[in-house]
């Protein structure tokens, strides 16, 4: 289901896993920008921690340890590499989470965003079950902040109550703000004029945000890179986030490179 060019922007992101150092600055920035409740220790132990973007850490072992009879856990530690994969809502063109919502609380808008309508959500959590990326978060508790953090809340973002599903919005409040400013000044939104909090916070420039319908934008150029792939592409979800493969300078044809 390729997206037709309707003259609107199609917001998209490129995640360069070669540049990601796993520093989690994006996680903190997202937490602050989007009024996500604090993941305190007991919330974490209940496995209900929320972070719209998370860094998944995987251990990579040399190729021969993935083959029987060798086991991955027997690989010598100096050959084991930590790999980081930032995962956020993929804003799929063909999102599995959308058709299962009985009340249209999640739908696709014409800018390629997978939008969540908080006050329409009734909390069936069907979308979370049908979401292959595990990027939907349910408010099991009424969110609360310490008194000292009251004034830290972002006034542009709704505070979600309990019983509501939430997820990455691509910082839609920032998109709207730039669009308003551009309209006021009578010009087009420039590439790189705005970015979600995670992109803004990334110290290594691993995350790039922009309009993929614009052929000159950084995102559309990077998404055509040879290293580009999309997460779980076999599921047919047509994600809007492009990942760039890790470049391994030591990888040769002998140790597993195809």
């Amino acid at each position: 289901m390729a997206k037709q060019d309707n003259g609107r922007a199609k917001w998209s992101m490129v995640v360069d896993s070669d540049r990601c150092t796993g520093c989690q600055a994006c996680v903190v920035a997202c937490q602050a920008e989007n009024n996500i409740p604090l993941n305190e220790e007991d919330i974490f132990k209940q496995r209900r921690a929320m972070s719209w973007i998370r860094i998944e850490r995987y251990w990579e072992v040399p190729f021969e340890y993935t083959q029987h009879p060798k086991k991955p856990e027997d690989a010598p530690f100096d050959q084991v590499k930590a790999r980081f994969l930032p995962i956020l809502c993929q804003h799929c063109e063909n999102a599995p989470c959308e058709p299962v919502c009985p009340v249209f609380a999640t739908y696709h808008n014409d800018e390629g965003l997978n939008v969540q309508v908080y006050n329409r959500c009734i909390g069936t959590r069907f979308c979370a079950n049908n979401d292959p990326y595990n990027v939907r978060f349910f408010n099991y508790w009424e969110p609360g902040w310490p008194e000292t953090l009251r004034n830290q809340l972002n006034p542009d973002v709704t505070v979600r109550s309990r019983g509501v599903m939430e997820k990455c919005t691509f910082c839609v409040q920032r998109i709207r703000r730039t669009e308003r400013t551009a309209r006021k000044e009578g010009r087009e939104v420039a590439d790189g004029e705005h970015a979600p909090a995670c992109v803004q916070a990334c110290p290594t420039d691993a995350l790039v945000f922009g309009d993929i319908n614009n052929p000159d934008s950084r995102v559309s150029k990077l998404s055509k890179d040879a290293r580009s792939y999309r997460l779980l592409e076999d599921q047919g979800t047509e994600p809007n986030i492009h990942y760039l493969m890790k470049v391994d300078p030591f990888l040769t044809e002998e140790n597993g490179h195809e």
Binding site: Q46, R47, R48, A49, R54, E56, R57, Y58, I87, P96, P99, V100, C101, P102, V103, F104, R120, I122, G123, T124, R125, F126, A128, N129, N130, D131, P132, Y133, N134, F137, F138, N139, Y140, W141, E142, R162, G163, L232, Q235
Partner: protein, 465 residues
């Protein structure tokens, strides 16, 4: 398999005895153990409702749900009770159309089990959302005035449609069959109860025209309810089968597999309920070993069909040879605690009861039928649990988010309370209305009468087939 066991005495005496025995709950006094049972069930139900109130007040944080295990005990219990509700149609509609004689005392109990387990099942998805007042917005009454329509692509819209249709038709079905019996109760009561039954009896006088209409309505409803019998649990199974992202859920065999599983657990539940009622109301003359025998034979057929679908479901899963599917199956079968639960499930649902039912002595023993049918329902509850939880716990392929689930105390209380609620409702219904169809039993008695002409004994009444 017709056994012509008629009660002694002439027809008039038999009819008087039937009226006396079956209306004992309405006109006479019930045994003390009845009220003990009601009190016990009410206590369990109260505990369940208390737990539900606690969860609603605290938020779903009070449950064991987490990410990605977003559905657990509530949905397991929902599917389980929808399954139990299939007994009603199976026993009354199909057996009525097939004119199986032995169904007579069982039909209404089965229909009542259907109604109350449906009501009970509908409570669970509502509590499951955490904010029940929002769910009303979703299902009823929907505010079309704002131009926001429900998403008909979602199985959660199909669900309430199917279930409410089922509930409506089941209530009608029970009511049509109940009218002649309400009239009998009306004629034997006084005061406020007389007025109550008078209103419900809809002016029933037993004229031939009324009987004809009642019988036609019963047959029509039996035939109309049959498609619902297939559709309801198919639709419940699609809650899972349409999920592309959960391994072990997206199987095309789910609809028939769930339907036959529902019949398996439902018929077992009806047997349990009938035996309990026989004990509570001393209905030894009406629920007899030959009824258990017939139900036992039916259960063998149903259980073996169900096992075939179960085996096919596993086979189809393994046949794909996908790593994710194989991983899920190995977790279901070999990893604690799921391996233990799996063992209990398969033994309790199939390998213990079915060989037992092969023996005539077991089928005719009320004690063993109680044990085996309760065992089936323990197994079938675990079956639903083992479908729902492992798939979510190992949501492939991003292994970073794998999780586990342990139910919290309120969730367990609510599951226990649901049994109390259904049990209490059935018992109280049996106090107000005769739970064994009086006119149906009398009709059976008339059909069983024989008369002697010369040296030959022939049936006294010949029924047109």
């Amino acid at each position: 398999m017709q056994e012509r066991v008629a009660m002694g005495g002439n027809l008039q005496e038999v009819e008087q005895k039937v009226n006396r025995d079956l209306l004992i709950s309405v006109t006479g006094s019930v045994p003390k153990r009845f009220w003990v049972a009601v009190a016990l069930m009410a206590f369990l139900a109260a505990a369940g409702f208390g737990a539900a109130g606690y969860v609603v007040a605290q938020g779903l944080g009070a449950t064991g749900l987490n990410r990605p295990i977003m559905w657990a005990f509530f949905i397991t219990n929902f599917v389980f009770w929808i399954g139990i509700s299939h007994a009603g149609v199976m026993l009354s509609a199909i057996l009525r159309l097939a004119q199986a004689e032995w169904r007579r005392p069982a039909t209404r109990a089965a229909e009542i089990v259907t109604i109350f387990s449906l009501v009970n099942a509908m409570l669970f998805p509502i509590i499951h959302t955490g904010r029940p007042w929002r769910t009303l917005y979703w299902a009823f009454p929907y505010d079309f005035g704002r131009g926001i329509w429900p998403n008909v692509r979602s199985p959660l819209i199909w669900d309430p449609s199917a279930i409410i249709t089922y509930l409506t038709s089941s209530v009608l079905f029970v009511y049509v069959a109940l009218i002649p019996d309400i009239a009998v109760a009306r004629d034997r009561t006084t005061g406020i109860r007389h007025q109550f039954y008078s209103v419900l009896a809809l002016g029933w006088r037993g004229y031939p025209r009324q009987w004809r209409l009642q019988i036609i309505a019963g047959f029509l409803l039996s035939a109309l309810i049959l498609p619902i019998f297939v559709s309801v649990h198919s639709i419940v199974s699609w809650d899972f089968a349409v999920n592309q992202s959960v391994e072990g859920w997206h199987s095309t065999i789910f609809a028939p597999y769930f339907v036959i599983g529902a019949v398996h657990s439902g018929v077992s539940a009806v047997v349990t309920v009938m035996i309990i009622l026989r004990f509570l109301f001393k209905w030894e003359d009406y629920i007899r070993p030959e009824h258990m025998d017939a139900l036992g034979r039916l259960l063998i057929v149903v259980a073996i069909t169900w096992f075939y679908f179960f085996a096919m479901e596993v086979t189809f899963g393994l046949f794909t040879l996908e790593n994710a599917e194989l991983g899920l199956r190995s977790m279901q079968f070999f990893e604690t605690p799921y391996s233990t639960l799996f063992l209990v499930f398969i033994i309790a649902a199939f390998f213990f009861p079915v060989p037992m039912w092969m023996f005539k002595n077991v089928r005719r023993s009320f004690f063993w039928m109680t044990i085996t049918t309760i065992s089936v329902n323990i197994g079938m509850w675990l079956e639903r649990f083992l479908i729902i939880i492992p798939g979510l716990a190992r949501k492939q392929p991003l292994s970073f988010s794998w999780s586990t689930y342990a139910p919290s105390v309120p969730e367990i209380l609510m599951v226990v309370g649901s049994f109390g609620f259904v049990g209490m409702s059935i018992l109280l219904f049996a106090k107000v209305f005769p739970l064994i169809p009086i006119y149906d039993v009398k009709e059976g008695e008339i059909l069983r009468r024989e008369m002697k002409i010369g040296k030959v004994t022939i049936p006294a009444v010949i029924r047109e087939e």
